[in-house]
């Protein structure tokens, strides 16, 4: 029996071994490849990502306006930023490992940790000059950002698994966060001495966007735009194939930085190494491409100075804008908004700049603000009426100072200035004298709908699809599309009165200085092309208008030439330039006062209300210490610009416009100048435009080469251009 039982035992053991071998077969042969892959995977370090260098932004002449440069940030551990007790314990534990602290009680070590943290803040304040309040604000910002992300993830996890109870801990909570960015080498040396060997603070290399530190930067600051942190939406929208964004990545949030994001950002690289450090796979980063602007920084700066002088001379003017387009390619040689800001001090000055609601220095007026165009829209009315045959070159209209003999209103501008009425005008003299009566008549004949449809094409470009004309402009994010009113946009039927208003550029009609310059370019060239701020690789092809013949444009050009160069022209003699045949048109658009302060009412919880007066809603929130997403219940204006005088009804000064192109026969540039609340276009804007043209003539790049004598330019429309019968 003993032997038999031994046989059974041996058999059982063999069977057991068989089961084990079967299991080995399953693991090593059946699933071998899978485990092999896993083994290789655990031996590989997570891919290290290498950031790409962001492309530079250069101006027309190749001057570097923005580029990436290495920098140093002061980074502080999240535990210190959030006053985490747990982190204090960790520090205390580390302190107790130091020889001098071995064996001392934990409570003392904790006090020491707190003391070291306090000393670190003191040092930081002393060396970098950042105030304690500012540091505290930055700490709160970081903590708020991380906490909201943590809560978001926790909520998502709860949704997926309601039983999950463990608090989420993010990597960010164990990281050092930049608190003072881009410190100078001197600060770095000082801080390295002071802060060496503290685990909670570190000086870390970073990449900083460096903007050309030059007086000229002030004039291009808002155009270049800024970089910010990538948003969750952008991360989600950008596919991994295109390089993908990571949280914390820099992304252009405004201006050219945003417009040319795709070319500028490049493509991150990555490298994979195994645990021995051997390189397994390397994908080098592709640095971002440089972006060449059409802007001439030097010209831009000259124009900025011209505008600053004009604004200073014409109180209560609040600001000005000027756009210079090269013809026929419509490259923006200058895109100036005055006033602007110094990008170097933007961060520290931000609140002041934001709350300057009179001058709005952060606003790129040239593209972002739309104004009533006033008389500079009159050529559009004329072109529309000519195209539709509502007027002919020979049509005569008699101006008696007002449109209707028995109705007060619908005056020509001569009425208010107590000038003699224009008498009989044709299309050319109507432009020259900017006669309202002629354009009221033309507008009426077109009808409001006909006028706006035609204007939309002229101002925004010929319709490319069924949807009608849409302003595309340069593609800059800040750009306003202006407004050519329609019934849909106004939510009311259009009347003949609208037609009259729109025909002289008043009413709801709105135009940005960029649109004004583009329209001037359209008149000068007889076709349409969107303006651009980026140097195009190949010449772009303008689009033609249907129904408008070259002679129509020639009539408008003649009117604008006379406007600038003949007595009686609204721009004469302010726009006339020696050595250049300038054509121009002025405009003085009725304005509404600017609201500069408001009284904001916020809910104070349980029915109470908090009332605060502030220039902006952000400033109001700051005054009341409210979070950034609280909306006011209501607000009412409390202050205006220009300041209201106590007595009498008053209207603010008009916005002064002047558009021009030159030279007359083969136009090379088109410009628009706007002086906010500047007054009359002829007296205020036209001289500024002339200075701009002179600057263009003197520019070394030769945008406008000097022509023959003024006398030569004095010649009136040659007989070949216009049939003699329309001569006034």
């Amino acid at each position: 029996m003993f032997d038999r039982r031994l046989w059974v035992l041996l058999l059982l053991m063999t069977a057991g071994a068989g089961v084990t071998v079967a299991r080995l077969y399953q693991l090593q042969i059946v699933r071998g490849a899978e485990y092999r892959a896993k083994a290789e995977a655990v031996l590989v370090r997570p891919a290290a990502e290498m950031p790409a260098v962001r492309g530079r932004i250069l101006d027309r002449a190749g001057l570097v306006l923005a580029s990436d440069e290495p920098a140093v940030d002061v980074c502080v551990h999240y535990g210190v930023l959030a006053w985490s007790e747990k982190y204090l314990d960790e520090l205390a534990k580390a302190i107790r490992k130091e020889p001098a602290w071995r064996g001392r009680p934990t409570s003392e070590a904790r006090e020491e940790a707190a003391r070291r943290i306090a000393a670190m803040w003191d040092n930081l304040i002393r060396v970098t000059g950042v105030t304690r309040e500012e540091l505290r604000r930055r700490c709160e910002q970081v903590v708020q950002r991380v906490e909201s992300l943590r809560r978001y993830i926790e909520r998502k996890r709860k949704e997926a698994d309601p039983t999950a109870s463990r608090p989420v801990e993010l990597r960010e909570q164990r990281m050092l966060h930049p608190i003072v960015r881009d410190i100078s080498p001197e600060m770095r040396a000082a801080l390295e001495m002071e802060m060496a060997s503290q685990p909670f603070v570190r000086l870390e290399p970073a990449v900083r966007r460096r903007y050309q530190n030059d007086p000229a930067m002030r004039s291009v600051a808002s155009l270049l735009g800024r970089l910010g942190q990538v948003s969750a939406e952008q991360i989600a929208a950008e596919s991994e194939q295109a390089g993908g964004y990571r949280p914390g990545d820099r992304v252009g949030t405004s201006g050219v930085e945003r417009l040319a994001e795709r070319s500028l950002r490049g493509r991150r690289g990555s490298e994979t190494r195994d645990l021995d450090g051997k390189l397994l796979e390397e994908r080098p980063p592709v640095d971002g491409g440089d972006v060449r602007l059409t802007i001439d920084t030097e010209l831009q700066q000259q124009i900025y100075e011209i505008l600053s002088r004009v604004v200073a001379e014409h109180a209560p003017a609040t600001g000005a804008a000027c756009v210079v387009l090269s013809l026929p390619q419509r490259e923006c040689l200058a895109l100036v908004s005055y006033p602007s800001y110094d990008p170097a001090t933007l961060a520290t000055d931000f609140a002041r700049l934001r709350d300057d609601t009179v001058h709005l220095p952060l606003r790129p007026r040239a593209i972002a603000n739309a104004y009533p165009p006033g008389s500079i829209a009159k050529p559009a009315t004329l072109l529309a009426a000519l195209a539709r045959g509502r007027v002919t070159p020979a049509t005569e209209v008699e101006c008696r100072g007002k449109l209707f003999p028995n109705v007060e209103g619908w005056h020509c501008w001569t009425h208010w200035n107590h000038f003699a009425p224009h008498g009989v005008v044709t299309c050319v003299t109507a432009i020259q004298h900017s006669c309202n009566i002629y354009f009221y008549t033309a507008g009426e004949r077109l009808g409001a709908a006909g006028l706006t449809d035609a204007m939309r094409e002229l101002l925004h470009g010929p319709a490319e699809s069924e949807g009608g004309a849409v302003w595309r402009g340069t593609g800059l994010f800040e750009e306003s599309r202006g407004l050519v009113p329609s019934e849909a946009a106004l939510r009311r039927p259009l009347t003949p009165a609208d037609a009259r208003n729109f025909s002289i550029g008043q009413g709801e009609l709105l135009m940005t200085p960029l649109q004004a310059a583009t329209f001037t370019a359209t008149i000068a060239c007889g076709d349409f092309l969107e303006p651009t701020v980026l140097r195009p690789d190949s010449p772009r092809v303008p689009r033609r208008f249907t129904g408008l013949r070259p002679e129509h444009f020639r009539l408008v050009r003649e009117g604008m030439y006379r406007c600038a160069n003949l007595p009686g022209g609204t721009a004469f003699p302010h726009l006339r330039t020696a050595g250049m045949s300038v054509c121009g048109k002025t405009g003085s658009a009725e304005s509404v006062p600017l609201v500069t302060r408001r009284e904001y009412v916020f809910s104070g919880g349980d029915d109470s209300e908090q009332v605060v007066e502030a220039p902006t809603v952000e400033a109001a929130r700051e005054k009341l210490d409210l979070p950034g997403d609280v909306k006011p219940l209501r607000s009412k204006p409390t202050a205006f610009w220009p300041p209201r005088r106590a007595e009498g009804k008053q209207t603010p000064p008009t916005h002064a416009w002047c558009v021009a192109f030159a030279p007359r026969d083969r136009p090379r540039v088109a410009i628009s100048v706007l002086i906010e609340y500047g007054g009359g276009g002829g007296k205020v804007a036209a001289p500024a435009a002339r200075q701009v043209i002179e600057a263009l003539m003197n520019a070394p790049a030769g945008y406008l080469s000097r022509e023959g004598s003024v006398a030569d330019a004095q010649r009136v429309l040659p007989a070949t251009d216009v049939p003699p019968e329309i001569e006034p």
Partner: protein, 397 residues
């Protein structure tokens, strides 16, 4: 029969040579695997050397046991057993009373006895002494053919089991009951009785699982073993991490294994306990399915040889010693390999002859010594008549 009780000096039979050969081969496999596991430590191979030294010590111990003979040890079996129980009790006592440098308490675990430079784990020797004592108890009795007669062997088993469990050392304590069963079965206990006990044990297992006898981390190990194919990180990390890494190491060995230079898996400590409890994973990774199967075959050869030695003897004590020692080695091997491949829960138990560790290696060679001694202890067969062919007396039985 009495004439053959002290026939030392007589040459060894084939079974003894096979036992010795497989044990030494397994030890060499182990040395190589330990070396592979520490190849990155600047090439000092210190653990490999230590293991080699202990292998020599083990061989000496084996020779000593063989020279003295299991019969002599059998006479003092109860004495050894009592002494071992006292040592184990002292280990348990160390949890309450600090016993200083002799029995150090590390992380609330007391497994070691340190006498000057020499340290050892009493539980390793308890296994051998237990087999001797049980063999001595069972040798002439037949009352274990009754259910009531099983009580005494069980008490003999449960006392050391309980003491070792209290060290705590769950892995080692798990050995005793299976060894008892195998010895009882070999000794001729009724299957019916064993089945009843087995059923009772099976019924008690869930109770044991929820009882406070089992600590939280042990329960966690069982849970993560049951959930080993669940991709949830809850099971794959923490308690399930070792098993997961072990399976990756084994699986990635595929047919013929990964060469040593590429064994980066171990160089980077991807497998905890790679030289001790999980050394089989190192072997399976390095030598693949073929190598791992050969190692298991080597074990089977050892077990079969042990049983042949048992079968060759007429003496009940000798037979039971041979079966018991074989069973002790076999049970450890199956539990260890089982846990490495994910067939049994992870318990701290060494792989015989292969795992790094002085106490266990010496103990296994001592067990081999008993097997050799038992193998040599055959009935004296009068030499067949010279020149007589087809002799019937050549076989042992």
């Amino acid at each position: 029969m009495t004439a053959d009780t002290d026939d030392r000096g007589v040459f060894f039979p084939l079974s003894a040579w096979l036992v010795l050969a497989s044990a030494i081969l397994l030890t060499l496999v182990g040395l190589h695997a330990i070396y592979a596991g520490e190849a990155e430590d600047g090439g000092t191979a210190s653990r490999t050397r230590t293991q080699a030294v202990f292998a020599v010590v083990g061989l000496a111990g084996m020779w000593l046991v063989t020279w003295i003979g299991h019969v002599q040890f059998g006479r003092a079996a109860y004495l050894f057993f009592a002494a071992t129980l006292v040592l184990l009790a002292l280990l348990v006592l160390a949890h309450k009373v600090p016993l200083g440098p002799v029995i150090p308490l590390r992380r609330n675990v007391a497994r070691w006895v340190q006498l000057g430079p020499i340290g050892f784990q009493p539980s390793e020797y308890a296994k051998i002494v237990f087999v001797l004592a049980l063999a001595r108890y069972l040798r002439f009795r037949s009352n274990y053919r009754r259910l009531g007669g099983l009580v005494a062997p069980f008490v003999l088993t449960l006392v050391p089991t309980g003491l070792i469990l209290a060290e705590p050392d769950l892995g080692t304590s798990l050995l005793f009951l299976p060894v008892l069963f195998i010895m009882l079965y070999a000794a001729g206990a009724r299957l019916r009785h064993l089945a009843i006990v087995l059923a009772l044990g099976a019924a008690a297992a869930p109770v044991f699982y929820v009882s406070p006898l089992m600590s939280a981390y042990q329960r966690q190990r069982i849970d993560s073993w049951l959930h080993q194919d669940d991709p949830d990180p809850r099971w794959q990390m923490n308690a399930g991490y070792q098993l997961r890494q072990s399976k990756i190491a084994i699986g990635s060995g595929q047919w013929f294994g990964q060469p040593l230079e590429q064994a980066a898996f171990f160089r980077h400590d991807m497998l905890p306990e790679e030289q001790n409890d999980f050394i089989f994973a190192v072997i399976a990774h390095q030598w693949g399915f073929v190598g791992a199967t050969l190692v298991i075959a080597l074990y089977l050869l050892l077990f079969a040889s042990g049983f042949v030695a048992a079968s060759a003897s007429n003496d009940p004590f000798t037979r039971l010693v041979a079966v018991g020692m074989t069973a002790m080695i076999a049970v450890q091997m199956f539990i260890n390999v089982g846990m490495t491949v994910g067939q049994t829960p992870v318990t701290g138990i060494t792989l015989p002859f292969i795992s790094a560790g002085g106490s266990s290696l010496v103990a296994y060679f001592v067990a081999v010594g008993f097997l050799l001694s038992a193998a040599r202890h055959r009935p004296v067969v009068m030499a067949g008549k010279p020149f007589e062919y087809g002799g019937a007396g050549m076989a042992a039985e």
